[in-house]
Each structure stands twice: as structure tokens, then as C-alpha cells.
């Protein structure tokens, strides 16, 4: 699997990049909550309206993808430090990849259903 053969420096580049980009994406997401009173911004109509806005949908999807990649790689790093065996490292990498794809797929499904795309 090509993903398993990535060098650590390449993974680190992805890790740093997704970290920085998700900071911006989350900042925009928070600004959306602040342009009107917080409670009002989370009212049912407003949330549904947000999901109908294609730019907001793209933003949510990017946050989901960026944070999943960054977070799950962070989890992989923590776990591979725990045990020093090639088998453990590869198993952890595969399991974390599956979990990441699962979370992204489930989150995307929610976004697609809510936005009625």
C-alpha cells in the first residue's frame, strides 16, 4: 500500500500542513458563530441555512478531512512509540487509516444528508 510506504518526512509535511490549514478553517467556522449572538447562530433554522450554503458545506468538509488526517496521524505517532516492533507499527498504521477513513465517510454522509445535495 503506497500510504504505508510514505517516508516519515512526507507524513510530517502532511501533518504540519493539515494542522496549519485546519487552524484557518476552524477560525472561519468560529467566526460564523460570532457574526450573530451565539445561541441564535445555533438555532435550528440557522444551522439548516448554513448547510444550504455551498461554501459552508465545503468548509465543514475541509475541517472534517483536515482534522481527521492531523488527529489520526497524531494518534498513530503516540501509539507507535509505545511498542518497538515492525508488526505493531504496521498494524497500528493500518487500523488508524481504517478509523480515519471511517470517520471521514460517516461525517461526509452527515454533511451530504443535511445539505440535501
Amino acid at each position: 500500500m503506497a500510504l504505508l510506504r510514505l517516508r516519515e518526512s512526507q507524513i510530517t509535511k502532511i501533518h504540519y500542513l493539515t494542522g496549519i490549514l485546519s487552524l484557518f478553517a476552524v477560525a472561519i467556522h468560529i467566526i460564523f458563530r460570532l457574526i450573530m449572538p451565539f445561541g441564535q447562530s445555533l438555532s435550528y433554522e440557522n444551522v439548516v441555512a448554513n448547510y444550504q450554503n455551498i461554501f459552508y458545506v465545503i468548509l465543514l468538509e475541509s475541517i472534517l478531512v483536515l482534522i481527521s488526517i492531523h488527529g489520526f496521524n497524531g494518534l498513530r505517532i503516540i501509539l507507535i512509540e509505545l511498542k518497538q516492533s515492525h508488526r505493531w507499527e504496521s498494524t497500528i498504521t493500518i487500523l488508524v487509516l481504517i478509523a480515519m477513513v471511517g470517520v471521514i465517510a460517516y461525517g461526509t454522509r452527515t454533511i451530504v444528508i443535511a445539505s440535501g445535495l
Binding site: R7, E8, S9, I80, E81, E89
Partner: protein, 260 residues
Amino acid sequence: MSNEDNKKVILKVYRTNYNKDDSPHYDKFEVPVKRWTTVLDALLHVKSYSDSSVGIRYSCRMASCGSCGMKINGRPSLACYTKISELKDDVVVCEPLPNFPRIRDLVSDFSQFFSHHKNMKPFIQNDKVSLDIDDKHDLVEFEQTHEDVDKYLQFSYCIRCGLCYSACPTVATDPKFPGPQALSQAYRYEADSRDDSKKTRFNIIDERHGIWRCHFAGSCSVVCPKGVDPALGIQLLKGHMLGLSKNNKKLSNLRTKNKE
């Protein structure tokens, strides 16, 4: 005689022999100290007058050989470079270095630490020069400017005492991690204009348990007795590997006898 000349401290020394199933304990010794007495002096006093069986490793007594590393009052330090008067405590606790397998009392096993160092191929490698010196009768030296030397000089002061390795939180959980000493030596050769084996060394450290497992705690640089600042070397190396910073290294030329 001033009060200072009569001062005594309690030396608490960690004792055990792993080959004999000894249960670890601390032995206490009262030792007379002067303003200039180092922890190593105090331990040698104990060996001469109280208990000759205390296990310590030392050689140069002047912070050059890197043999006498131990944990002194909770901090990895060189015993010959730590004055008791500077500890400002009447009890001095000596324990073996953390992150190293222990052998006996204050002596720890450096084999793993040295093998990480060896893995970095800590010598000049250059395709222009064969390692077989017999082939190169006309070889004299590489030409380097002062600026070229400044790039790596600080990192070449390392005496391989292992203090940084014992202070590193990543080494504590991951023995495959090369540690600050080995990684800073990788940078030392990467920055050296006589060396052109960047790729080989990058491949060695660009591993799952390699340089990227450094979380920049910085404790290595805090304890280094020679001002090497291994954490700086690691961050510079990371920058080079990610292509964020350039070394702009121009390989030195060989000055040969024929040219003289």
C-alpha cells in the same frame, strides 16, 4: 578556620548490583567538603575512606571524557563538573543516569547509546575521497573557511557523556529513537562542508522511530555540559529535511600535495 572549611554534607548513593539480585537502596556517607569539592571528589573520598566498593565510572576529572555522568539531586550532570557548593544543599543524592540500562551502583550501560551514535556514521564521508588512505598518497586536507567551520563547530564539542540522552522524554518511552546526541551528530556532519553523504544519513533518520519523534522538549540542551545545544541541531536538521531551510553547503575542495 572559617565555618566553610569544616563543612560536611551527606552523600546519598544509590546502590545495587544487577548481576547479584541486590535490592536497590541508598547508602549515606558524611563527607567533608571545601568550596571547590566536586561530587566526583566526594565520591572518591567515600571510596578511599568509607566504602571502596561504591561503583562509579570516571577518567579525566575535567569534563572531557564524558564517563562520570549521573543523576545528581535529580538532574543528569557530570560528577566531575558539579561543585557541591553550587548545589546549595546539605544532602547530595547520586543516582545512575535514567534511560540507560543499569549495571551496578552509579554505573550504567552505554552500548545502546553508542550504537545509535555509530548508526549515524559519525565520520566524514566524501565520494571524492576513498576511505582507504593508502590509495591517496597526495591527499593533504580539505579547504574550509572560518564560516564553514562555524556551522558545525558547536556540535563537534560533544563528549558523548549521554546526559542529553538521559534527559530526553522520547528516549524514555522509545529506545529505538536515536536520541539527541546521535541526531545532533547527524546535523554536525550534514553541516560540514567536507561531507557529502547527506542522503545516506537522511535515510537513516527519516524512519518511524527517527528524528520526527522529537517533540522539542528541549531538556537535552538544558543538561548538556558542553553547550552543544542538541535540540537546536535537531530542529535545524528537521528544517533541512523538510526543505524549509537551506544549508547552502558548498563542498570543500581537496588541497593536494601536487597543488602546493
